[in-house]
Symmetry: D2
Subunit: 339 residues, 4 copies
């Protein structure tokens, strides 16, 4: 951290700030510019966030962080990419791309079996489907809950596809872990720190979806919660951020892919379905995600989107998904990835 | 809902859309413009969100909502303002303003007693203080937890101030309810729908803080979760939204006050401490909040902000808080409120 | 500026960076932390923006600015508030508040005279009205142009109110200066630097409206363009920024008022009409602006908003404006301002 | 437009609104829902923006637009893609991709010749370079102006590359048209409507860069200004929007590519240099842009970015640009485009 003093700060104020920095356990490096005095606080990074309270001290102008606040998630700590084992032979984070697909919500046995069969045919790697659904409205369909989990595991068995589903609270982690190969933490829970701590204690891989207003740094701090709990199997998913633009449901921040790949060793995937909110934009944005360097995709597929209980407008029909898979293969090859 | 057909939609497509709307249980009203055909879906509002899946149907251009998706939170359902009883004689939602103040986190007995004493002296109405703290970093101070609750209740007893503290997960609602007069749901949990459902079953008043990227409509839908659970004692708190501006920690959206007061009967307060992130901007924004029509304020106060374990830069010292209270009284009078 | 080197930067890279900094004419101050080496560049601030190109140099992690990039607009350069003379005895920037009001666009002689008369009656200080109108659509009313200027000057003469109107291009500055007491640069032109340079050469006061995505720092840099051109009569106007929230036309960033009052000596006013976009929110937000410390207001008033050629939804009727003026007087008194 | 009446609107209010709609020259279609009465205004779309003033009328809840406000830019008006002739045999808008590259600013004869030579070698199609530079700071390099134009035209002649450069004000359009093959309107001038009108009268192709807070609809309205002036040679360029994320200079909104390709017949290109602000993210985002369906790219290239007078951090070195071109060719092939 660098503590920048105000132009007119008195010697007494500066001495006091130095004493406070030292009191927090850091060494002080002083630097006199033409108009400002700066103090650098040197020492263990993890607690440095504490130093921000110095902004409350008379004479201090601002406190400027220099280093990243995350450690375990950082490329500086671990250089080689993390490869996460998603079960049934599917691995993500290496040269092979992974496509996760399925309906927003599990609605019925017929629906999930129909989708799983179509996915298997097209070479998708993993089945998604919500059993517990976070919905903006209390009056909207909230998911089949336990029955949904059972249906997912039937589809898993029938088609040999590992399964991912969302965990919405601590109380259901154990139950969901019995059925799912990977736990998904949704965008709305990305700073539900109690939940992050608990999935950090789990043995299952965890997929974290970036929140609508989560910065990349905060996203990595959420990953840090899981990693520091002892679970190293974390996958990051960009799914659009909230901006002023309303032509799309969210603004898919594809630059987050190269930024994340630079800063962390964790696998990064993209969800163009939530990212755009409209089925007709999913295909080009899926290609763009792969071209930008993503390790995989998460795509919503529904046999009859016009009857879907949630997210119909952004769901692909099976034949549209088949086209997408063919295109993804071509783009993957162009950027030297396998699928 | 209005379903707008594409310019070149065929008669067959239009007939199919009409059939689908009727299949969902709505009557259809058709309207032919110079370039578009529109269908209105007439019937029970609560389920209409389902109709958005029609955007996936060939020939449909877009689905446009006309009515608000919330009912219980709406002024149309209940015209008179809701007055919430916060305990120990403090009520919010009428002509009297309520000022809630205290440290970001409970840190020690001395700290919380010192603050509570100062608040009592200046006429503040309620004590805040976090026992369980949501922190972006897993390495930052996470709160005194149960000990913090005990300290809060000691301060409550000593100074006769009702107490509000944050609930971060379902598991601790019962415990916290033993100590606190009001449950706070933090900005990061505003769409943690499981938590909202549970506090909806509580007998305690609930204060909801708007999330960093929560629209006003979504904020009211979160209130609707609590209300539809049976708990009518809900208070809304504007605390800043996330924008491109970095001169302040968040952008305090004070327009949300008159918008909320128009749309809902629930009390609305403002937190200028989190809203601005800097102690020196808290006083003017507190005055602005009252002038804009807020029913109260939530202010962070700490005896020694430069040593605070969290949110030091935005905490007022007791003497600064005293000035603020004097100013708030003057502004309150100017806009015909009591304090 | 501080140049932060990467963790593994080589000695050779560091030496090269030092040489480049010195080559740009700065002294180098080196500082070794536990994980990073930092270089401070010491010397004349104005050109330091150049140093950002060092980010392109191998071994450099990032370049961090420490000082503000503006000089003439800064409180550090001039501590006392600037008082701008708006003509006909109206001055802004001191203890007296200034209310500027009038229609979005001048539409007819009757309209502008009707408004001016109502303003005079209620004690407003200055008349606004667009003659040249920036409109999103090329098919919308573009203003009465020269005829509008003539009508404004007739109203000025008839009611003794100084006049402000928008300048949209360099070519019309001279013409508009013949009729108006103050030149307005609109939100869409706040980074039209050619226009800023030219109004910097004018003898007329200039009101700058913050752009929809202009940071406070950029806003002050736009003021710096005018000031560095030799025109010290600059007024800043907050009028809402663009965010994800759609309940209001823009998000009025009232925190910008105390931030600007801290950073600059220039007068700051607020436009709650554009800020909210709806007449029913203008009154509370006008009060809030004054409570937050604004030096004045800009309010849209139209005799018949339902027939206005532009901005009808956000225009007050004369009797609504009268109420607002009475309320503003009460709030002004509460925060020790005169009107 | 649809005019939605309030729940309790009186018959008198409804009759008055109907009369006003008819007074503006539209037919009224009435529709009674279970809770609201809606009026549709049927007739010529271009003037409908006027109807928004009805929101000021008692009893009216809101005015909801149904149709797009642009005509000439719309795919509904012209279905086939527009192909723009950029000069010297370069055409954009068909199956062939166009790569425009060069330095942010023309700095010297040596610099621009060095870049042009490298571009020619790698198969780039057009040379960019600013002669007149919009800079946030009045103290930063403002471009070589006329000398820069001369240098550009020398490079044009020497290497047979058509040239694009920015037009910042009306006064320099004629001059710049003598030297440049295409006029660029920068992001900060995208709603400088006077400038748009004037380039609409030009015979030169015009490239419009999306502003930092310009919605896609507004972007198309800016194109409509140029088109309605009589100039049909318009190219749109996505270059990043402003959001809360600071890891990149802007947030490159690649979804805008498929959205624009759906809504308009005009060519769409992407500028990943400004979009990301960091050279190391340019390559992946260039690939992503092509994969998303862009018709071309605009890339900043500088022989020595660490000495650039502007935008050094986001400029590629010639050998980095060569790599990018090779990768773009592979991705282009994967999505069935030629280069």
């Amino acid at each position: 951290m660098i503590i920048s003093m105000k132009k007119g700060a008195t010697q007494e104020q500066m001495d006091h700030v130095k004493k406070l920095i030292e009191g927090f356990g850091y060494r002080v490096h002083e630097s006199k510019g033409s108009e400002r005095v700066l103090f650098g606080a040197i020492g263990d990074e993890r607690g440095k966030e504490r130093l921000t309270c110095l902004e409350a001290q008379p004479g201090v102008e601002k406190v400027i962080p220099i280093l990243n606040p995350y450690k375990l998630a950082s490329r500086e700590t671990r250089h080689e990419p993390t490869v996460v084992d998603l079960g049934l032979g599917v691995k993500i984070g290496g040269r092979n791309l992974v496509v996760i697909a399925g309906p927003c919500a599990v609605e019925s046995q017929q629906q999930i079996m129909e989708v799983a069969s179509a996915l298997k045919d097209t070479g998708a790697h993993m089945l998604r489907g919500g059993a517990f659904k976070p919905r903006t409205s209390p009056y909207a369909f909230q998911g089949l809950k336990n029955d949904g989990l059972v249906l997912l595991s039937e589809a898993r068995k029938a088609y040999g596809l590992p399964v991912i589903t969302e965990v919405m609270d601590i109380g259901s982690i154990d139950l969901i872990s019995e059925y799912a190969d990977c736990l998904q933490v949704g965008a709305r829970n990305i700073q539900n720190f109690q939940l992050l701590k608990e999935v950090g204690r789990s043995k299952k891989p965890v997929l974290l979806k970036r929140g609508m207003s989560t910065t990349i740094e905060e996203f990595l701090m959420s990953a840090e919660y899981v990693l520091s709990g002892g679970n190293s199997q974390v996958i990051l998913c960009e799914r659009g951020i909230r901006t002023f633009e309303t032509a799309t449901r969210n603004t898919l921040d594809l630059s987050a892919v190269p930024v994340l790949k630079e800063k962390t060793h964790l696998p990064v995937i993209v969800d163009p379905s939530h990212g755009t909110g409209h089925a007709r934009y999913v295909e080009p944005m899926a290609y763009a995600a792969i071209a930008a360097g993503a390790d995989g995709l998460m795509i919503e597929v529904h046999p009859r989107p016009e009857e879907a209980l949630s997210d119909g407008p952004q769901s692909l029909r099976p034949h549209e998904f088949r086209n997408l898979m063919a295109g993804v293969r071509r783009v993957a090859q162009a950027v030297d990835r396998l699928m």
